[in-house]
């Protein structure tokens, strides 16, 4: 135990004192905050831009339906010849010209209305214009057929499904976004942590091998002690880095928003949905949704899966580091790490969000290599305790098995030089 402590401290200090580590620790929050500010600034620039669209309406019935708003201003060019109108649009550098042919046949108009522009317009702009034309034409068509528009408007009903579970807790569509956000963030964070710090463990193993200090050390400590000490020491360094990122990044974000007055919250996706939903009521509901999330459960499980997942993968990283002589040789062994991680993330983002308790999501939240990511994404949607316990049990058993296997490969690998082993060879090492 004394030796394990010594190893952990050394590994921790070796990571933390590393220059790149220090630079990354303090530079990353600055870069991140800088990016957020930049994006917020750019998107505010973009939406400030007012597009001027000329309308050439031969039938002279549509212009009045297009009301200028803060994004698009409409100009009526119908009283001049088409050629002049086009010239004028081009000359004045307007966004484009919307052309309605002279017809009372709305189906014909729907197909033959055209938009002239020098530069291809953005998709969101086209969608906006199309839906506007479509609603104008629909209304005209309805009027033409003698339908009472008022009656239709009154008959329209806005549906906002009230979702409630069997124990009576109310949720909403919005709360699904909140859950997605929490689950996705947790899963993604875990994946990043595993990749960054797993690689660090691997590099440190390779370093000991190429330095040839390894034999001196394992004449004093057991290889498995060294491996576990390395994994733990590196993870503490990682946690330190995360804490610094959160604190430093938080302060920075606070200061920057104060100075520049950029409203960062308006550019986040949750906030947009929030605005779409509109009412005060929805915002209140969002807050209650967050509060009503099983937060204790999420945080508890986050820690367990975080540690478990990290241990599982970093032992594989350590074994890979031991098996090779240099970092360039690691490529062929990266598959067993990258594939399940990617699979976890993809299953999480496609399957869990679509159907959190479906068969695919459930199975992947039991498989140990994907369970940390997938289960973390499922938990905000409410997963039964026994399911979580079973999944954790499988994970813990697999950690023991995998650490044992990794330690065997590690033990043999650290003393092997000059050979680039194959999978077959690694399998043989298990029996040494």
């Amino acid at each position: 135990m004394r030796n394990l402590k010594l190893i952990i401290i050394r590994e921790y200090l070796a990571r933390v004192r590393n220059k790149t580590f220090m630079i990354m620790t303090f530079l990353s929050p600055i870069i991140m905050v800088g990016m957020v500010v930049l994006i917020a600034y750019l998107s505010s620039l973009n939406s400030d831009e007012n597009k001027i669209v000329a309308i050439y309406d031969e039938s002279e019935t549509f212009f009045s339906e297009f009301k200028s708003d803060e994004n698009i201003s409409y100009l009526n060019f119908s009283d001049m010849p088409l050629e002049t109108a086009i010239d004028s649009v081009e000359h004045n550098d307007y966004y484009g010209l919307l052309f309605f042919p002279n017809s009372k046949d709305y189906q014909y108009l729907a197909r033959h209305t055209e938009f002239f522009a020098n530069k291809a317009p953005g998709i969101s702009f086209i969608n906006e214009i199309e839906s506007k034309i479509s609603s104008v034409l629909t209304e005209k068509e309805l009027q033409y057929r003698g339908v009472d528009l008022n009656a239709i408007n009154q008959a329209k009903t806005e549906v906002n499904l009230q979702i409630e579970n069997f124990s009576g807790e109310e949720t909403s569509k919005l709360s699904n976004y909140v859950k997605m956000f929490f689950g996705g963030a947790a899963g993604y964070l875990l994946m990043m942590f595993i990749i960054i710090y797993g690689n660090m463990v691997m590099r440190s193993v390779i370093e000991e091998k190429t330095n040839r200090i390894i034999e001196i050390i394992i004449s004093s400590v057991k290889p498995i002690q060294l491996m576990i000490g390395k994994i733990l020491g590196t993870s503490f360094a990682g946690i330190t880095q995360f804490i610094i990122w959160i604190i430093f990044g938080g302060i920075l974000l606070f200061v920057v928003t104060g100075i520049f007055g950029v409203d960062i919250s308006s550019s986040s996706p949750v906030a947009t949905t929030q605005l779409d939903a509109g009412s005060q009521d929805e915002i209140r509901k969002l807050l209650t949704d967050v509060i009503h999330l099983p937060l204790a459960k999420i945080i508890g499980c986050f820690l367990i899966y975080f540690i478990g997942g990290y241990f599982l993968y970093s032992s594989v990283y350590a074994a890979i580091g031991a098996a090779v002589d240099s970092e360039t040789d690691t490529q062929q062994f990266m598959f067993p790490i990258v594939i399940p991680l990617m699979l976890g993330i993809y299953v999480g983002f496609f399957s869990v969000i679509d159907n959190p308790h479906g068969m695919v999501s459930t199975i992947f939240s039991y498989i140990p290599l994907t369970s940390p990511v997938v289960m973390l994404m499922r938990i905000p949607f409410g997963v039964a305790w026994w399911e979580i316990l079973l999944s954790i049990l499988i994970l813990v058993l697999s950690i023991f098995a995998l650490v044992w296997i990794a330690a065997k490969i590690y033990r043999v690998g650290i003393l092997m030089y000059g050979k680039k082993p194959s999978y077959k060879e690694l399998y043989r090492w298990l029996k040494y």
């Binding site: 370093e207 330095n211 200090i213 034999e215 001196i216 004093s220 003393l415």
Partner: protein, 309 residues
């Protein structure tokens, strides 16, 4: 207890490959024991087993009469063949870390390290990183790491390979001094002259098997061929050789001499003693040179391996 280290029928397999086959050796206390063998003979495997880096498949090892156990690592100092240090760690910090892993307290390790730094006159290296040191300097540090915890048993795997001549000399002197102070030294090598120079005992391993072992002087006695190198001044060389060939085996030889003498190696048969040879020589001329040809470890090594080929 006479022997510090005893190995009994130690075997080790790597898959289908038998790296060590029933090796038994006894290393007496305060001796310098050389394990000899060509590359790949199994020397490093044995040394790793003693260091508990790998476990033997069969057989047992006794250290000071007790079966080898994890606590024993603090009594063993090991300088591996593949040796190095953390490049970006400071010298002092690094040696303290490694000494603590061997069971020393930080305080005690610091005290001893200061002593060694003074003794080797490298006091100003404490805060240097290994990557700032030359290879020879790093080798000195490695040596300190090996001996700092004052082990009873010192194991050097190919200690003279990779060291520059100055450090190799330094290590040789320190090895002898450590033995004076009570340590037992086990080292492996394929360089015969170092065995000749240092070892009291030796074992020869070839293709996983021990071919011979014992006291170096005893082994030499066993391999002596009753051959003497002789320089004599005689009247008639042809007559002398003719006479000599009747009684002994004669081969020409060469050594540096200030005399104009006949130089030959004379092997005498079992029934004669060296006095008989001397008497014969005295009858025929003046003896300038008379030395028993003692087989070198190198000769023994090559002879033994060839006889087992």
């Amino acid at each position: 207890m006479q022997n510090l280290l005893v190995a009994e029928n130690v075997s080790k397999n790597y898959g289908d490959f038998r790296a060590l086959n029933k090796l038994s050796i006894e290393v007496p206390k305060q001796s310098i024991f050389g394990i000899l063998g060509p590359n790949g003979a199994g020397k490093t495997t044995f040394i790793r087993i003693v260091n508990q880096i790998t476990m033997p498949d069969e057989g047992k090892i006794l250290l000071d009469g007790e079966p080898l156990q994890p606590e024993h690592i603090q009594y063993i100092g090991y300088l591996p063949e593949e040796r190095g240090l953390y490049k970006s760690m400071k010298v002092g910090e690094q040696v303290l870390y490694l000494a603590q892993l061997k069971g020393l307290s930080k305080k005690e390790a610091t005290k001893r390290l200061k002593y060694w730094f003074e003794r080797l006159e490298i006091g100003d290296w404490w805060n240097k990183k290994i990557q700032e040191l030359s290879k020879g300097m790093a080798q000195k540090i490695q040596f300190i790491v090996t001996v700092l915890h004052q082990p009873k048993l010192l194991i050097f795997d190919e200690p003279f390979s990779g060291f520059d001549p100055v450090n190799a000399n330094l290590i040789r002197d320190e090895i002898l001094k450590l033995r004076e102070d009570g340590a037992t030294i086990l080292f492996s090598t394929h360089r015969m002259e170092s065995v000749e120079e240092l070892c009291d005992y030796m074992a020869l391993i070839h293709k996983s098997n021990k071919l011979l072992d014992g006291k170096v002087s005893a082994i030499k006695k066993q391999f002596k061929s009753n051959t003497y190198q002789v320089g004599v001044e005689v009247e008639n060389e042809e007559y002398f050789l003719q006479q000599a060939k009747e009684k002994f085996n004669i081969e020409p030889t060469f050594f540096h001499s200030i005399h104009q003498d006949l130089q030959v190696n004379i092997q005498i048969a079992e029934q004669y003693s060296q006095n008989d040879l001397l008497a014969f020589l005295m009858n025929h001329g003046r003896i300038n040179h008379f030395v028993e040809v003692v087989p070198s470890v190198n000769d023994i090594f090559i002879k033994t391996i060839q006889s087992h080929a």
